[in-house]
Amino acid sequence: MTDAGRAVFKTRLSNGLEIRLQEVHTAPVISNWIWYRVGSRNEKPGTTGVSHWVEHMQFKGTPTFPAGKLDRVISRDGGYWNAFTWLDWTAYFETMPADRIQLAFDLESDRMQNSQFDPDEIASERTVIISERQGHENDPDFRLSEEVQAAAFRVHSYHHEVIGDMADLETMSRDDLYGHYRRHYVPANAVIAIAGDFVIDELLVRVEETFGGIPAGEPPSLLVRKEPLQQGERRVTVEGPEETELLSLAYHAPHARSGDFLPLAVLDSVLAGASSLNFFSGGLSNKTSRLYRALVDGEQAASVQGSLAATIDPYLYEIHATIRPDRAPEDVLLVLDGEIDRVLQEPISKDELERAIKQASALFAYSSETITNQAFWMGYTEMFANFEWFESYMDQLRAVTSEDVLHAARTYLLPSNRVVGMYRKSRGSSHA
């Protein structure tokens, strides 16, 4: 869905690069996003974390824009930029004053082809990435989440964290990194999405001039190993020195193109509160959600959240509770299961359904407000579906019925389809 008058122009260059352009004249700003169809889903044991590390190396220089220059030239033009690696994709963006956007095109077209992967830079970045992982490891949430994810996916490559396993971060070679870069950073594996203060016809000429001459490359092949149906509940426990205990439930969930995805999103909203599919937009408070009432008002947990991600392959619907110091994870699980039983037994009310849709509608509006966000959406949805998915999102959501939600609950929220994870304070000697 886009606002009237903000039609999206779509085309594909002869080298396979997909282009999405949207004029927005609310501020003298342009946001340029380039999305590659590569993430931790494309990784194998031995090189887990390679997609994220390649993303880091994309900031380490080309002959034209050597290391240290890239950041300077963006910053001095008043721009900001960043990059993200996730399960299914890697994305780079620059939001710039409108008259400076050519710099972003030059930079992205250059580093699509010419990143150097200098061995000294790789050595330095290895310790930076290990430091990043160690920062995550400080948090019991991460340690639990990593084990739950691994338990949920025995076969599919969604089984490891995007940051990668420490064993691979310590041993991965330049060849591993450079090979991954060359295979995946080609026009035929990318989408460019640009929104902002420009005229489409004029900008398209510049995009073609900048990116059109890059050799197409081959879309990389990927052997996706389908996760077999889980045969029974799995449980994992993580122990550590931190006092606050945690409970995590992870149910296998449908992929974003499935007809069950939006009913499950509505169910998440009713159970744990409304959240945005836009990573950078935040959700609403969830104090009237069923799980908040049962767990927090019910004096079992200090907080509870749900999360459902839009992915290419079936991923997870997760419920996460921070346990009160006077309770144990088992206590909370009992109450939580009582609420899960309710949604398995009877449809959600008409009022709950209407509220969920109103909330989603507001969040959708908020998450589309800035030019950066508008460019984000155009590319993001191409990574797991297509832009039509985005355009029809609200209509599809409004069409969800209570029966659809009940069906989704009965299909996915089954004990045999979940991993139960608990983080406990270790008793005895300190965590090694």
Binding site: T26, A27, P28, V29, F59, T64, A67, L70, D71, R72, S75, R76, D77, G78, P97, R100, A123, S124, E125, T127, V128, I130, S131, E132, R133, Q134, G135, E137, N138, D139, G240, P241, E242, E243, T244, L284, S285, K287, T288, V296, D297, E299, A302, S303, R324, P325, D326, R355, K358, A360, S361, A362, L363, A365, Y366, E369, T370, I371, S430, H431
Partner: protein
Amino acid sequence: MPEETFALPETDVRSLPGSDDIFREVLPNGMIVLVRENFANPSVLLQGTLEVGALDTASEKLGLANLVALGLMRGTARRSFSEIFHAIESIGARLGISASVHATQFRGKALAEDMALLVDLLADVLRNPVFPQTEMEILRMQHLTGLTLRDEDTGSRAQMAFDELAYPDHPYGMPSDGYRETVESLSMADIREFYKRYYAPEGMILAVVGAVHAREVFDLVSHAFSDWDAKRESAVIQVGPASAPDHLLRSDVYLPGKSQSDLIIGAPGPARSDSLFQPAVLGNNILGRFGLFGRIGDAVREEAGLAYYAYSTVSGGSGPGPWQVAAGVNPQGVNHAIELIQREIARFISEPVSEEELLENKANFIGRMPLQLESNEGVAGAMVHIERHKLGLDYYREYPAMIAGITAADILAAAKKFLHPERLAIGVAGEAIRDPGS
């Protein structure tokens, strides 16, 4: 790259908020209302501050201001906790209130069509809270859980250790959200008494930005707040000055099981009102922000590969907030990182920044303004900032010229005044110990 042709960007200041498109009125009770219309998006953002914070609490009651701020939404004379959040969440709105050292902040967002309800809710929770005991006990337990998580977090503990060293006998030396024992000791009488003594409209700022007409907003706000006549029991407290330690001070907090240590290094910095504040901020951008964390990032992350993040900040609030460097490093690399940061600080205070650095950083500050002020959140935050620090409604339009006028000598003067490589406070939290084996 054509370095030689680079020049400061020319910003069309008329696109920035200014006196001709910010509506400003003061209600008779002293509440300041600011509105800027923006019909480009369908939402409305409401943000502001009240002049009440942790400074109004005795040290044995630290955390009280925060608990009261959070408790405002736990029930009013008109609505129960459940009714308040049913009203907010049913329309897809957000509303949150929290306290810091000097002020209590609130921020709400809704679709523009729901503006009246959001204003009514804000007025209700600010004016008519009843702090129901059951709800407050749940809130206290949540707050205590939050404190436990904070106390297990390396970043928070490094900051607390730094604050204690950098601000002895000063309110900035203690965490505004309190300690377990102070929060456990708070009574319902403390909570209600604090509200009664300090919550008042005088000096309150309410900024509204979005798809709404300024006059309609003002009428709504006036209707909801103009008969609020509560008075603060005592004058707003101003904090005293703070200066750099006499020598290097370091505190290590041992947190078992942590793979990464966090460290904070710095000293008290300029208040927002200090004439050296803006040179300090521009200089700090060179020291630890520009590009990927400035000079500090180059030394600690890019060259030594010691940290995922290493950057510096100048707080510059109502008092002498810290000018500090933060880094997350492997426990084995802590001392090396500290040495590198000290080296960069020594260089920063001993020689002027280069003309190239100065030009690039000025360009960064001026060029990024349209981006920072694009969203309703950005504009609302900017309006609260200029009102709170009495900068004038045309501050952002005058900003490019003001930044352009800062010299390398100004930056050096600010650096020399506040930073001394041998007179720093250092807080470290994690597995690291200062002298292994000792």
